[in-house]
């Protein structure tokens, strides 16, 4: 798969290599260009399918009303309670809506046939066909009165009902693949539409997704949005400051002042939460917090009633959420800061000690100034990941109690992909994600600008 067209070229070259060595640029230029593209191609396909396309589609879907109700691919046309509501409110066609949702009873061949199959009295059905064919009744009672008027009428009420049920005609809740089919059915149903009504019905009866800016209006109008926003900001900055940078600094600096053995031990321990699969890691915290769990058992003798410590109050829920995320986040900072501290020349430590610095002064004047770039790196990186990841919150509190710990990213998931609350609102979820995607792209670009892009793009030394 990866063999480019250069094959004969190198084959001849290797034969002549002993006698003369042509200038390398001349040989390699064209080939390596193709080779590079070949080697990049698979990555390109993946990137296109699962990065570029989703980014664009998130933008597109954000402007649709796509949901489980509309389906993902094209929709159908249907008269239903949901589609009649806008017909009344938006177009004022109350009368039309009433008539469309009405049931009508028509004596027709199809009905007669169905009545026979349903086990209705054959003689009565035949007589009904003779006398009443093509007659319509507004109510079922009308049909039944007609049946009772027959000479061969069934003897039981049940016999009558079996027959009468087969003549019920309605356009409600029938799926039509195209608008034309729907209009034919309506005219068969005996309703004539004027042009305006046809237009209006075409709009409201469509069940597939359509383009709309409604999602963004909803987002701005809903009080939940601002609450989620505040939750998100609180969560991101508290975790970031206390743990992803703060505690990470504590870990890397304390282990710096230890002999290699204990330092390695502590770093391994604090790396464990990152290595432990999230489901299991959160399970450990649940064990700690459960109403028969560790905290409850240990605190009970001290007069605290056993309870689910993680979910009993918003404050506790936040404490756990920040601990759970923070401890995982701190390990990355710990590793990066530790290697940055290791890169500080030993002589700087020695010089500052000779100059009279105590430990605190050494940390403040020597270590921290040298960690400015790593801290900035971690801050940008972790802001993004805290802002967008919701795995641990989903597993721990699922946004509870009562939405107290619902952050933006979790909210997109709950709206669009968790059918706990009924219909999945893909469009609205995508609109919420779009906000994060835009933030994500902007921050990534800043990151690219800050961290010395020029170094990365030094040209290859073999042309």
């Amino acid at each position: 798969m990866l063999k480019p067209s250069s094959r004969p070229h190198w084959a001849t070259k290797s034969l002549s290599a002993d006698t003369k060595t042509p200038p390398e640029g001349e040989i390699e230029m064209g080939n390596s260009k193709h080779l590079g593209l070949w080697l990049l191609a698979p990555a390109g396909v993946f990137v296109f399918l699962f990065f570029l396309a989703p980014v664009i589609l998130t933008g597109v879907f954000g402007f649709t009303n796509m949901s489980t109700a509309t389906g993902i691919t094209g929709g159908a046309y249907m008269i239903s309670d949901t589609s009649m509501r806008p017909l009344r409110s938006r177009y004022g066609e109350n009368e039309l809506a009433d008539r469309l949702t009405q049931k009508v009873y028509t004596i027709d061949d199809a009905g007669l046939k169905a009545a026979l199959e349903a086990g209705g009295d054959a003689a009565a059905i035949a007589e009904l066909g003779d006398k009443f064919l093509d007659q319509s009744f507004d109510r079922r009672r009308g049909v039944e009165t007609a049946i009772k008027s027959l000479s061969a009428r069934p003897s039981t009420t049940r016999g009558i009902k079996i027959i009468s049920a087969q003549f019920e005609r309605s356009v409600v809740n029938v799926r039509f693949d195209s608008k034309e089919d729907l209009l034919v059915a309506i005219s068969d149903f005996g309703i004539a539409l004027n042009e305006g009504q046809t237009e209006a019905l075409g709009q409201v009866a469509y069940t597939g997704w359509t383009f709309t800016t409604q999602n963004f209006k909803t987002m701005i109008e809903l009080p939940d949005t601002s609450k989620t926003l505040i939750n998100t900001l609180f969560y991101v900055f508290t975790t970031l400051i206390l743990f992803n940078t703060g505690f990470a600094l504590v870990l890397s600096i304390t282990t710096h002042y230890m002999p290699a053995g204990p330092a390695g031990f502590f770093r391994s321990i604090w790396l464990l939460p990152r290595v432990t699969p999230p489901v299991l890691y959160v399970l450990m915290w649940k064990w700690l917090a459960w109403d028969t769990g560790f905290l409850s058992v240990v605190l009970e003798p001290m007069g605290f009633a056993p309870r689910n410590w993680m979910l009993d109050s918003p404050a506790n829920a936040w404490t756990f959420i920040i601990l759970i995320n923070g401890i995982v986040g701190a390990s990355m900072g710990m590793l990066i800061f530790s290697s940055a501290i290791k890169a500080i020349p030993q002589s700087l430590f020695h010089a500052s000690e000779v100059d009279g610095a105590n430990r605190g002064q050494q940390v403040w004047h020597i270590i921290l100034p040298q960690l400015r770039w790593p801290i900035l790196f971690i801050t940008i990186y972790q802001t993004l990941s805290l802002l967008t990841s919701f795995e641990y919150i989903l597993l721990a509190t699922d946004g509870g109690p009562g939405g107290a710990t619902e952050v933006w990213a979790l909210s997109t998931y709950l709206k669009a992909l968790s059918n706990y609350g009924g219909a999945l609102q893909y469009g609205y979820g995508a609109a919420l994600s779009l906000v994060l995607v835009i933030i994500g792209i902007s921050v990534s670009l800043i990151y690219l600008k800050l961290f010395d892009f020029k170094n990365l793009t030094a040209p290859p030394k073999i042309e």
């Binding site: 230890m258 290595v275 028969t292 967008t388 994060l436 793009t457």
Partner: protein, 274 residues
């Protein structure tokens, strides 16, 4: 390391902070093989009863062995894809003349920082449209794709450290760039491939959100989703069972962590999501 500061205060301080975490991990193991009387945290008997799930399928759940197999396939195939694609793309970006090279490099770096989980809804819908929803193949492709920017980035970094002289010498000896890559350069970055492989495998083994959203069905369920569903089921609450399944689930992770801890430390500090 200078001797002007005493060491025990830092060890004591961090020891106290670390104790609760250690306690949680210790109990994670202890609870799977013991029973404690109600209202106590001190076990009073050993038992194997929490491990029955290995032989008896829990009602309403797929067999644990099916879930394990699914997880294994998911993690392994993802790793292979990530390794093959990253080692080739990383080499192209590190060493070869490419049109729009700096665009590709910038793109990879942006993708590396970009929070991919925000694309979940769109990816979900794309898989639905491609007909790959609820299949292992679909979720494998997605997971591989999301790991790729990191993988390419890491591999590019390692290729950058291979001396140019090796390649120049190879070319003077008559090898093509492709041969130079496979015969001379790849052997130089073996440690990187091993590290990235372990990392990808662990990432696949631990992944939860993607299989949860993209392949939730019992027949394609992986262990993370299996365990999460078990925990979420309010009717059958059994912490010791959850922990036992969890330990079973985490065994490969522990093995890899113990053997490759230093490599993992290096690669984790290279940055990843979370």
């Amino acid at each position: 390391m200078s001797t002007n500061y005493r060491r025990w205060p830092t060890i004591l301080f961090l020891g106290i902070l670390t104790a609760p975490l250690v306690l949680m991990y210790v109990y994670l193991f202890v609870d799977t093989i013991t029973n404690s009387p109600p209202g106590s945290m001190i076990p009073n008997e050993f038992t194997a009863e929490h491990w029955r799930f290995l032989t008896e399928t829990i009602p309403g759940r797929p067999s644990i062995w099916l879930a394990t197999w699914n997880t294994f396939v998911f993690a392994t195939v993802t790793t292979v894809i990530v390794l093959v694609v990253s080692s080739s793309a990383g080499y192209a970006l590190s060493r070869l003349q490419l049109p729009a090279r700096s665009f590709f490099l910038g793109g990879i770096m942006v993708l590396h920082a970009f929070p991919t989980v925000t694309l979940l809804i769109a990816i979900f819908l794309i898989l639905q449209m491609l007909g790959l929803y609820n299949s292992l193949a679909g979720v494998i492709l997605v997971k591989s794709a999301l790991e790729l920017p990191f993988g390419i980035w890491i591999m590019k970094g390692f290729y950058d450290t291979v001396p140019w002289e090796i390649e120049m010498a190879g070319i003077q000896d008559g090898a093509s760039r492709f041969q130079v890559w496979t015969k001379l350069v790849l052997p130089q970055v073996k440690p990187a491939i091993l590290a990235l492989g372990i990392f990808s495998f662990l990432a696949g083994w631990s992944e939860f959100i993607l299989p949860l959203v993209l392949a939730p069905d019992n027949k394609v369920q992986v262990l993370s989703v299996y365990l999460a569903a078990l925990i979420a089921d309010d009717q059958n609450f059994d912490m010791a069972l959850f922990k036992s399944v969890g330990i079973f689930y985490v065994i490969p992770v522990i093995i890899l962590f113990v053997f490759f801890q230093n490599r993992l430390m290096n690669i984790y500090s290279g940055g990843n999501k979370g």
